[in-house]
């Protein structure tokens, strides 16, 4: 599934300079930045290589780089969107970037979702909390060519209502007739005017009971959620091979050299971040 080339770069560790053109607060501590390339050549390179699922290293000089997915789809390559939770040194300083500020981006790296293989199939997207961004890039890749797919179901849950990200897009999806959107929050996380479900993602998924027939599932979320959702998907009759997920690990280089992102023998940065549940289940659990 690898799709890596030298990307025509001279120094593979030198990032591109990006300008912040939009900034959105998604949830407490979670922000989305829309970035535009400053160097047209870099942009061309990105457009040539980027496919949904790939990730990048976003950074600020003086602070460092941090790895997260490209949250915008391959169908919209004029910019890059990234959504992140403010936790460490880099994300804190990215979070304080204002419109017009310059940041850096290195990528795209890693493998992709084989979206062509999903043509003609029903799609089930399942995401938890801050893991909607990787799913969202697949969702939009598919919605932007909606006619190529069957039924689209999105199950998204967060701890509390405030923790749901991309609220404006959730509203948009809610209003579309060609998507079934199931929203849920953990018990106790609801607000007084919450009109959707209350419960953990796996049980809500089981209630929604999408059919496994001719269906591909894309599942992203915190490890505990993944673990239990996979069980639920199994109960619903999904084959591990038709369930896609993404893995994250700490990375520095993004290109398979710095030595820290491997799970067992698998380098997330080069062989991932997109894996089928079948592939993940072959990895040593003690290394995840």
């Amino acid at each position: 599934m690898t799709d890596n080339t030298q990307n025509g770069q001279q120094n593979i560790y030198k990032p591109a300079i990006m300008k912040v053109v939009q900034k959105r607060d998604e949830a407490p501590g979670v922000k989305t930045l829309r970035l535009e390339f400053q160097d047209p050549a870099e942009h061309e390179r990105f457009k040539e290589h980027y496919r949904t699922g790939m990730f990048g290293l976003y950074g600020i000089f003086g602070e460092g780089e941090s790895t997260f997915c490209v949250a915008s789809p391959e169908t919209r390559k004029e910019y890059i969107e990234c959504t992140f939770r403010q936790s460490g040194r880099v994300t804190s300083s990215l979070a304080s970037a204002e419109i017009g500020d310059l940041v850096t981006y290195r990528g795209p790296y890693g493998n992709r979702f084989p979206i062509e293989e999903f043509y003609g199939k029903n799609l089930l997207f399942i995401a938890g909390g801050i893991a909607l961004p990787p799913t969202r890039s697949v969702i939009w890749s598919c919605l932007d060519q909606r006619d190529k797919f069957g039924k689209v179901t999105i199950v998204y849950g967060a701890r509390t209502v405030a923790d749901l990200v991309y609220k404006h897009e959730l509203e948009e999806w809610q209003n579309r007739s060609d998507i079934e959107l199931v929203l849920t929050v953990d018990p106790g996380g609801e607000s007084p005017d919450w009109q959707h479900r209350i419960g953990f993602v796996p049980s809500v998924l089981e209630e929604a009971a999408p059919s496994p027939d001719n269906c591909v599932a894309v599942l992203c979320g915190p490890p505990v959620m993944i673990k239990f959702t996979l069980i639920s998907l199994g109960k619903l009759g999904f084959n591990e091979k038709n369930v896609y997920t993404t893995l994250e690990n700490r990375m520095k280089c993004g290109v398979g050299k710095c030595g820290r992102c491997n799970v067992g023998s698998v380098y997330i940065c080069k062989e991932g971040p997109v894996f089928t549940a079948a592939e993940v289940s072959r990895m040593p659990a003690g290394d995840l």
């Binding site: 304080s96 970037a97 204002e98 500020d101």
Partner: protein
Amino acid sequence: MAKIGVFICHCGENIGAKIDCTKLVSAMNDHPGVSVSVEYKYFCSDPGQENVKKAIREHNLTGVVVAACSPRMHEATFRKACAEAGLNPYLCEIANIREQCSWVHTDQDMATEKAIEITRSLIEKVKLNNELQPIEVPVTKRALVIGGGIAGIQAALDIANAGQEVVLVEREPSLGGHMAQLSETFPTLDCSQCIMTPRMVEAAQHPKIRLLTYSEVEQVEGFIGNFKVRIRQKSRYVDMKACTGCGDCIQKCPQKKISDEFDCNLGKRPAIYTPFAQAVPNIPVIDKEHCTFFKNGKCKVCQKVCETDAINFEMQDEFLELEIGAIVVATGFQIQNTAMYGEYGYGKYADVITGLQFERLASASGPTAGKIKRPSDGVEPETIVFIQCAGSRDPSKGVKYCSKICCMYTAKHAMLYAHKVHGGKAHVFYMDIRAAGKGYDEFTRRAIEEDEASYLRGRVSKVWKENGKLMVRGVDTLLGKPVEIAADMVVLATAITPQPDAKEFAKVVGIGCDEYGFYNEAHLKLRPVETATAGIFLAGACQSPKDIPDSVSQASACASKVIGLFSRDQLEREPVIAVNNESTCSGCWGCALACPYNAIEKKDILSRSGELIKRVAFINPGLCQGCGTCVTFCRSNSIDLAGFTEKQIFAEVMGL
């Protein structure tokens, strides 16, 4: 990146004439993260502040640097202006380009360069400033006064008279303290009990004062406005509600040979007793140690004679947990044990006594009903020698400090002696006469001139008994001659020292003390009644030796501090306090030891199943004063100080 506004004040000519402000403005405009940089003649003026506010709104600023006079001048002004424009006031920093730049440097270029660097470094700091909120602490409006001597009573009454609740705790069975033991008081020679007893009664009957005698404070937790105090009420074995104070039990008690502490062991008392006749409350206690029933299991005479069944041998100590907003510590002093002055014969010769014992002899309520009689045989002494500084100002044997009151009370004793023993001769050995105070020097002069006390400047080297007389050998340094006086009685002006348990008690309350055990004030000059622990105040001789007027004024000062504190429902404190990162803390407790305010406590981190994972430091925001000593101590860099964080200072230095 941030959006910082930089406001450069000319301060008229003060800054403008020495620093090229236009250059400063353009340098700041070129600086990354600066959205706007402007100059103005007086930013502290109303239109100047308006400029700042307008810029905050227009540019949606995330931080403000005002390059102007010292932050000690106008930091508050500009922070307030920021707040009015909707910017958190703690996102404003002042670059001091007047006091520390334009006023002190002569070279314009270098001064301008310095102003640029100072301002730039503060821009870097302010970018990392956090929005801080003043800390609001609720106040429990109930004061605890520890110690029922004159200082404690005064503080309690002042607070109670202002309408606030007071809990007054005294460990002895009665209020009164040392002042109740005194005969007359200097410099007016009015009777101590006459002025003291009404205050005691007033305190006991005050509707706002809850009096807990024969009680001790065992534990103090919490912080200003929110202390939790545990008090032990020792069992008196006498039901306070039932007892009428008739005194029958005291009269009938068969055990009457107990040395009377109140009379400094010059008299005797029974096993059930009140310390003195005017005791408040007038309810006896049973001295368990000497009571025949407690010793032998037989007696119970008191119980038999009591008509109200107030005697209860089964009584247990009781504990009270009280919520308290402020604490006044007025635990008083003791008289130094003079055992180390073996050459003066105290303890060896019955007629060598301390000043406090002399007070009891001179007191109308004392063991001799106010007649000066020597303890050995009850004979009136014809010649009496007073030795001052028997312990004070003597680093080798006694204490280094001056006990402050001995000069005065010795003069008083000499006068009382002259008044009571006609024809008697009083000699006073002294080092210096320290009589500063209203009417004090006149008082000592009177002792010498009117009452003809003989003052000899010099130390006494020895006291011994010869032919029924106490021979006192000393030196008169003014004459340069040795002197020997055959006396009938010798009175030692012993030093005033802290209570024997003062140091342990300081730990209980959570305040500091000096090497002797006198409690430390927050600042000797500017905050003499506060302790370093916010909300705890000091009154009387527990802080240092004091006479009655000083103790009373300090007590009233404490009361005013407490009343001031209680005038608000919430306390607002600067949010400059330390915060610990519990995930990286190793729990070595060095910070807790280093903290001058005992603000750092141990906190258990438990797993979901309730097991102890680790112990970390927790910095109580109510107690922390924000000095940052713990931050610097912390090896793992886990503690940080809001307003002066490690990141801010790092940026400030890197921006220089």
